[in-house]
Amino acid sequence: MAALSLGFLRGVAASGYRAGLTKSLNRAAGVQILYRKQNNTHLQQQPARQASFFTYHPDKPDIVGENEDVTEMNLFKAINSAMDIALATDETTVLFGEDVGFGGVFRCSVGLQEKYGRDRVFNTPLCEQGIAGFAIGLAVTGSTAIAEIQFADYIFPAFDQLVNEAAKYRYRSGNMFNCGKMTVRTPCGAVGHGALYHSQSPEAYFAHTPGLKVVVPRGPIKAKGLLLACIRAPDPCIFFEPKVLYRAAVDMVPNRDYTLPLGEADVLVEGSDVTLIGWGTQVHVLREVATMAQEQYNISCEVIDLVTILPWDQDTILNSVKKTNRCLIAHEAPITCGFGAELAAKIQKECFLMLEAPVERVCGFDTPFPHVFEPFYLPDKWRCLSALRKLVKY
């Protein structure tokens, strides 16, 4: 089902790789550049690299020690490093999906087949429901399965296997059987020109499914530690990789084997006036919004990366909103029944007496994800800033 569209982006990704291209971010921003050409004055005020809808903030969490052995890695290399470690440390681990054998259309599995053999890193037929079911079967026998769905947009054929099977395996069998050793990795989110079927953020569909863990990293250091945690977690995990970060996001990533906790949100910037909540790429948009709000309007924002969509970290979120008394949630996915709705409802219930304004959501619109209109669709920093100002004035 994915054939036509796979060809489309595969071409982009693979040719970029061959040319040693490191600027797919600029490609990603192609649409935005077109838009700016019609606003010359605006363009002149902006450095060219800000033409994209976000600016990556390199990460340096506490887990990176002073004398840590680190390598500069972008997101796809960090994913590769995590899978390399997973394959090296657990002989039952296998990695498979469409086109993972030659390195993957986003280069995440480069070199792993050569290193670990064709029986551990291999291509499957082009069939997402088969990939998910195959992964469950491996995990049921105690093997560790890392399955790749080429784009999150194509995870829906596997929806039945993930929702009715993977999520319910342990529960329905009274814990006789489980498929906890499976992880599904899949690229998600806006990429500048991905249109309807290379841009989606389907986390909310899965957030409605007890039994699954759903995780979205914001950068390479987090991606490596969280992916290893997902692979080793005793529950089936879906790991959404914001594809626009594959090349654009670069951190100094520890070379060692490390995991980061699932179910814990990160307070990235402390603040006192408003809590801003996002995940994946949107975290970087919100960080920029926080800086702009501070510099231009003297608003102090607390920026939180939710990290794990399911089960989510209620304590960190609620404590922050109890402190700031205002909250703005932003995600790329459409607003209606997006995961922001769940957060807003819970915040409203638990922080009712502390809230000084309604919880605000800045999200994608309730439309399919468009091609040329992407700059008008995304919850970019200007839409977030505008909503933030209204929230503070409320």
Partner: protein
């Protein structure tokens, strides 16, 4: 032309170099290296990477009815007489008696459970009438180390492996002794110790899972296979296609066992497919395939035994299509007289039944007689009734088990919900059937 050939040769060498640089584990390969062979110069054969074939200048469509259908393998005729003596597996008397006893015990259990549902004592049931031979014949041909993925009409496989009447009944009642903790509908059995993966209602989902499990077993190297049962209706699901194709390309030791009983609920097979059943699809996926008389337990035994041999020695899948007939209703929620005639059902029940056929075979050899039959039926009936009554008396599990096993450990939001419900049930206790549920403490981690 010469330049092109040189380029192609060069590419071929490059490809080979790369591939040969990769350790190819022979144990995991049946000979396909993934290299597209280029024809020698001067050879006039098509060279497309997608197929191996010859040219034709005749415009001719391949018609689906060019042959008479894949034949149905049998050992006995419908009267239970062996047709070709060499095909008789000559199983020892003790084994045949065990096969017969398990088939008939299943039959007696089915009758009593079906009636109990009619009386409203359990919520749901599905019988196995007419298909007992497919279960027992296939289960007897493999070992308990071989992993089973089923659909829901394979209780005889569990019966063969030693699942006790208590186990069946406890699951159907969802009582405190059900290892599934009462969470699923009746007949959704599972057993870790008997390597029978817990049944789920979703049709076909077990099929690609069985392939993944077979891949893992191949890597483990224990010489075991996976057997995956499904009905002919399920074979229309996308997951069936996925599993056939994955099993073939990834070279997995899995036996696909299709119970083709003529109906998927009310849908007859001519509304299910227009090819030669399910078996004809096997070769199109590159799968070794056989069709067998599902009412001939010895034939089912023979093909399953041979199929396992192929799958574990050659690491490839085998498809078995067992032709049979669903004598009972689809389930207790179905009245099959709404879509098929009583005469048709009677025909299969009286002239083709797998139990009757095996009984004749055994009687002819002096392994069974009418006295044994009478005594066995009485003891079955008594045992089933006793077990049934005991299962009915047992309490339901502690209701708090509603919240466990969603994840390996209970996340905070779920613990909060459990505590809220505990407080609620305490306040409104009169409105909940707490007396039917065990109060024994349970592990709520």
């Amino acid at each position: 032309q010469v330049f092109k050939m040189q380029t192609l040769n060069c590419m071929r060498q490059l490809c080979r170099g790369r591939l040969f640089g990769v350790p190819i584990h022979r144990a995991f390969s049946t000979g396909t290296t993934g290299i597209h062979e280029i024809n020698p110069e001067g050879s006039d054969r098509p060279n497309f990477p997608g197929s191996r074939s010859s040219w034709t200048e005749k415009l001719e469509f391949i018609q689906p009815d060019i042959y008479d259908g894949i034949p149905v393998y049998r050992v006995m005729d419908i009267k239970g007489k062996v047709i070709v003596p060499e095909q008789d597996p000559k199983l020892p008397e003790s084994m045949l008696v065990k096969m017969y006893e398990r088939m008939t015990l299943l039959n007696v259990m089915d009758r009593i459970m079906y009636e109990s549902q009619r009386q409203g004592r359990i919520s749901f049931y599905m019988t196995n009438y007419g298909e007992e031979g497919t279960h027992i014949g296939s289960a007897a041909a493999i070992t308990n180390d071989d992993l089973v993925f089923g659909q829901y009409r394979e209780a005889g496989v569990l019966m063969w492996r030693g699942y006790q009447l208590e186990d069946f009944m406890n699951q159907c009642y969802g009582n405190v002794a059900d290892p599934g903790k009462g969470r699923q509908m009746p007949v959704h059995y599972g057993s870790k110790s008997l390597n029978f993966v817990t049944i789920s209602s979703t049709l076909g989902t077990q099929m690609p899972q069985a392939v993944g499990a077979a891949y893992a077993m191949k890597r483990q190297g224990g010489g075991n296979c996976v057997i995956c049962y499904f009905g002919e209706g399920t074979s229309s699901e996308g997951d069936c296609h996925a599993s056939f194709n994955f099993a073939a390309t990834l070279e997995c030791p899995v036996l696909f066992f299709c119970r083709n009983n003529g109906y998927a609920i009310s849908t007859p097979t001519h509304e299910q497919y227009r090819g030669d059943g399910v078996a004809a699809r096997g070769p199109s996926y590159g799968i070794a395939t056989i069709r067998v008389d599902g009412n001939d337990v010895l034939a089912v035994y023979n093909v399953t035994k041979a199929a396992k041999e192929i799958s574990v020695t050659e690491n490839r899948p085998v498809l078995i299509e067992a032709m049979t007939y669903r004598i009972g209703h689809h389930s207790t929620s179905d009245d099959s007289s709404a879509y098929r005639s009583v005469d048709e059902v009677m025909h299969w029940d009286t002239t083709q039944h797998p139990i009757a056929r095996l009984r004749t075979y055994m009687t002819d050899r002096g392994y069974w007689d009418s006295n044994k039959e009478k005594a066995w039926k009485e003891s079955c009936h008594k045992k089933v009734m006793q077990t049934f009554a005991a299962a009915e008396r047992r309490a339901k599990p502690n209701w708090r088990l509603l919240f466990t096993d969603v994840y390996e450990t209970m996340p905070p939001n779920l613990r909060t919900q459990l505590e809220e419900m505990e407080a609620h049930v305490k306040e409104y206790e009169d409105y909940y059937p707490t007396a039917n549920f065990s109060q024994e403490p349970v592990d709520l981690s």
